[in-house]
């Protein structure tokens, strides 16, 4: 527990402070007239900006004083975790990214299959084809259920000819 001035703590504390200052700057551009209450739409944003700035300063003060109080250990083993596994983080993000890009034109089912396979890969699955197929089946079931029974609008995309008028 020697002096541990972690870069992450400094970055997060400074981030809160900067967010507070940015909020304050944006608040200055809001209208202030308030009718009977004598305060306008800019009052609460001002309070929140002040709160964020105060929290940022307080966090920085804790960093200077030896680090945030009672926060999770930097040693993964002490938290009950294993060391940071970058591919896990990457594949989950990739799945979400592919889904975001694909859903608009390729449709819900195709995007869902890619998302499923990406996340499964991130959790250590090596069977991409099986995951794609499983993801497609689950997404298709979800699609049909929500579109037919709950009237939720979901894009059919490339599968529109097969799914007929079920989607949009």
């Amino acid at each position: 527990m020697a002096s541990r001035r972690s870069p992450a703590e400094i970055a997060l504390s400074a981030g809160v402070l900067v967010l507070g200052l940015a909020t304050a700057a944006a608040t200055l551009m809001l209208p202030g007239e308030g009718g009977y209450a004598k305060i306008g739409p800019n009052f609460m944003p001002g309070v929140v900006a002040a709160g964020l700035v105060a929290c940022g300063l307080w966090l920085l003060y804790e960093v200077v004083g030896g680090g945030w109080r009672a926060r999770p250990s930097d040693d993964p083993a002490e938290r009950g975790d294993h060391a940071f596994h970058a591919p896990g983080f990457f594949w989950v993000s990739a799945g979400l990214g592919a889904h975001l890009v694909l859903i608009g034109f390729a449709g819900f089912v195709v995007a869902g299959a890619c998302l499923f396979a990406g996340v499964a890969r991130g959790f250590g699955s090596a069977r991409v084809a099986r995951d794609l197929a499983l993801g497609a089946v689950i997404s298709l079931a979800v699609f049909l259920f929500f579109v037919r029974f709950l009237n939720v609008n979901l894009p059919a995309g490339w599968l529109a000819p097969l799914l007929g008028s079920a989607g949009i």
Binding site: A8, E9, A26, L30, G34, G35, Y36, A37, K38, I39, G40, P41, M44, P45, V48, G51, L52, C55, L59, E62, W68, R69, A70, R71, P72, P76, R79, D81, A83, F84, H85, G88, F89, W91, V92, G95, L96, H99, L100, V101, I103, F108, G112, L115, F116, V119, A120, R121, G122, F123, G124, S125, L134, I138, V142, F146, L150, V152, L154, I168
Partner: protein, 496 residues
């Protein structure tokens, strides 16, 4: 008498076949998400919100409430068999329950937690029935100043008092409040912090925030830090029956647990962790054989599980009567009400009395369903626990993105979702609580409305918050809660 009549009308509503079905779906889903690691009731209700806007509000809310307390039942199964407490309120159960399972007594551990949850849930529902109309009578006298003071009190307890760090709790709260400001100001119509993005003019939806923090953030964290850990699932062997001795040791613990849980849940100080730990330490103190604790003492499962469930039901008191959520799940339930254009609070009991009493009546029925679901059918849930984690999280994210996307059919919501996921990852990694952010997002705009309304009435005179006795006492209490721990620490240091 009036309450009894209202409750009977409520049973008429709750016993309609369709509402019974929604209730059953709710408690079943709730048990499932309670059992599954990585999915909680807050996330489940949030994912379902955009998909259920076209349903009848009564049925949908009965389902959501079922998910909420069903998850409390299901959570104990995972805790006992897998020793991974799904939520902080189950940590106390994990201490003894998993030891019992390791010793081959998983059956009685599951039984005492299911029956204890049933007993506590039922008693707490009776207390809710009796208490709610009384709170409503008081709350009807509240004006905007009182409401604002009460909300400040709730913010403070949730953010500053309950967590590990006051400043990190407050940071999370401020973040939620900031996100709550995005969109069109409800009083003047002025856009705030939308930067011309049409999706932002609608405001940040609680669904995107909750699903981002809880589902995407959790998936990122587990994939990065826990994907290669393997838990050992204890076998459910032998009988579920509790022996006479088990019963004798369990029932006083259930009652004491309920007595701890309900008050903590119902005062706007939320959180089920404190009562479960209080219950655990009390049982340890009162036990004839305290040495058994740490080696699978049944009281240590019975008490905390009862406390946990009673607290969950207790949080419905401030939610329904005052419109004040004191947990992340309650905040999302409040979002569910708002989705249907209903504002919980004292007026709800008059304007929507069928809905609110139907909901309360459904809690009695749901508790019975849950007892059946969790005892004779326990084998099914043990099978659910065997779903491989890669496919489980993949499936969760398919549903999570579905909920967010169906809000506006826009990829912007999916991008926001991922950004909140990164935020959730960072918050989990560096110990910043997420519940205050969710509560801030939901309750912030309501608090602002009350604040400005109070000042409109007083023509801009801020002294209303100090001259109205109820408002002043809540604010004084809030100040005390923040200052007291600091003063105590100083005094202790001075005397040392």
């Amino acid at each position: 008498m009036e309450t009894l009549n209202a409750l009977l009308t409520g049973f008429d509503v709750a016993l309609k076949p369709l509402n019974l079905l929604w209730g059953f779906i709710g408690v079943t889903l709730g048990t499932a998400v309670g059992v599954l690691p990585g999915v909680g009731p807050a996330l489940t209700v949030a994912m379902l919100l955009p998909l259920t806007v076209k349903l009848d509000p009564t049925g949908a809310l009965i389902m959501f409430a079922g998910i909420y307390y069903g998850a409390m039942f299901g959570g104990s199964t995972t805790t006992i068999l897998l020793n991974t407490p799904g939520e902080s309120a189950s940590i106390a159960t994990a201490l003894e329950g998993n030891r019992m399972a390791k010793a081959g007594r998983a059956g009685p551990a599951l039984a005492t937690s299911a029956i204890g949850s049933f007993v506590a849930g039922s008693i707490a529902t009776v207390l809710l029935t009796v208490l709610a109309p009384l709170v409503v009578d008081v709350a009807l006298k509240f004006g905007p100043a009182e409401y604002f003071a009460l909300m400040v009190f709730a913010f403070t307890t949730v953010a500053a008092v309950l967590g590990e760090s006051t400043v990190r709790g407050l940071t999370s709260l401020c973040l939620g409040l900031l996100l709550g400001l995005v969109g069109i100001d409800s009083q003047t119509g002025a856009p705030r912090f939308a930067f011309g993005v049409p999706e932002l003019l609608d405001g940040i939806d609680v669904v995107v925030l909750a699903v981002g923090l809880f589902a995407v953030g959790e998936a990122l964290y587990v994939a990065a830090y826990q994907s290669r850990l393997t838990g050992t699932l204890e076998r459910l062997s032998g009988s579920l029956m509790m022996s006479k001795e088990d019963w004798k040791r369990s029932w006083p613990a259930w009652l004491r647990g309920t007595a701890f849980g309900f008050p903590f849940g119902s005062i706007p100080a939320g959180g089920a962790e404190i009562p479960t730990f209080l219950s655990y330490s009390t049982e340890k103190k009162l036990a004839k054989d305290p040495a058994a604790f740490g080696h699978g003492a049944i009281e240590g499962v019975a008490g905390p599980e009862a406390a946990n469930n009673a607290a969950a039901t207790g949080t419905l008191v401030p939610l329904l009567t005052l419109g004040i959520p004191t947990s992340a799940t309650a905040a999302i339930l409040l979002g569910a009400f708002q989705n249907y254009g209903i504002q919980p609070g004292p007026l709800l009991f008059q304007s929507q009395s069928e809905l609110v009493w139907g909901l309360i009546a459904s809690l009695y029925i749901g508790n019975v369903m849950l007892l059946v679901l969790n005892l004779p059918l326990i084998g099914i849930w043990v099978k659910v626990l065997r779903i491989p984690r890669d496919r489980l999280y993949a499936g969760i994210l398919v549903f999570a993105t579905l909920g967010a996307y169906s809000l506006h059919q826009s990829w912007v919501d999916l991008l926001t979702l991922y950004v909140f996921g990164l935020l959730g990852f960072a918050m989990r990694r560096w110990g910043i609580p997420v519940a205050p952010a969710v509560i801030g997002l939901i309750l912030g705009p309501l608090a602002e409305t009350q604040f400005r309304r109070a000042l409109s009435i007083s023509q801009g005179d801020a002294s209303v918050f100090f001259t109205h006795p109820i408002a002043a006492s809540f604010l004084a209490l809030t100040a005390l809660l923040i200052v007291a721990p600091w003063v105590v620490r100083r005094l202790r240091r001075a005397s040392a």
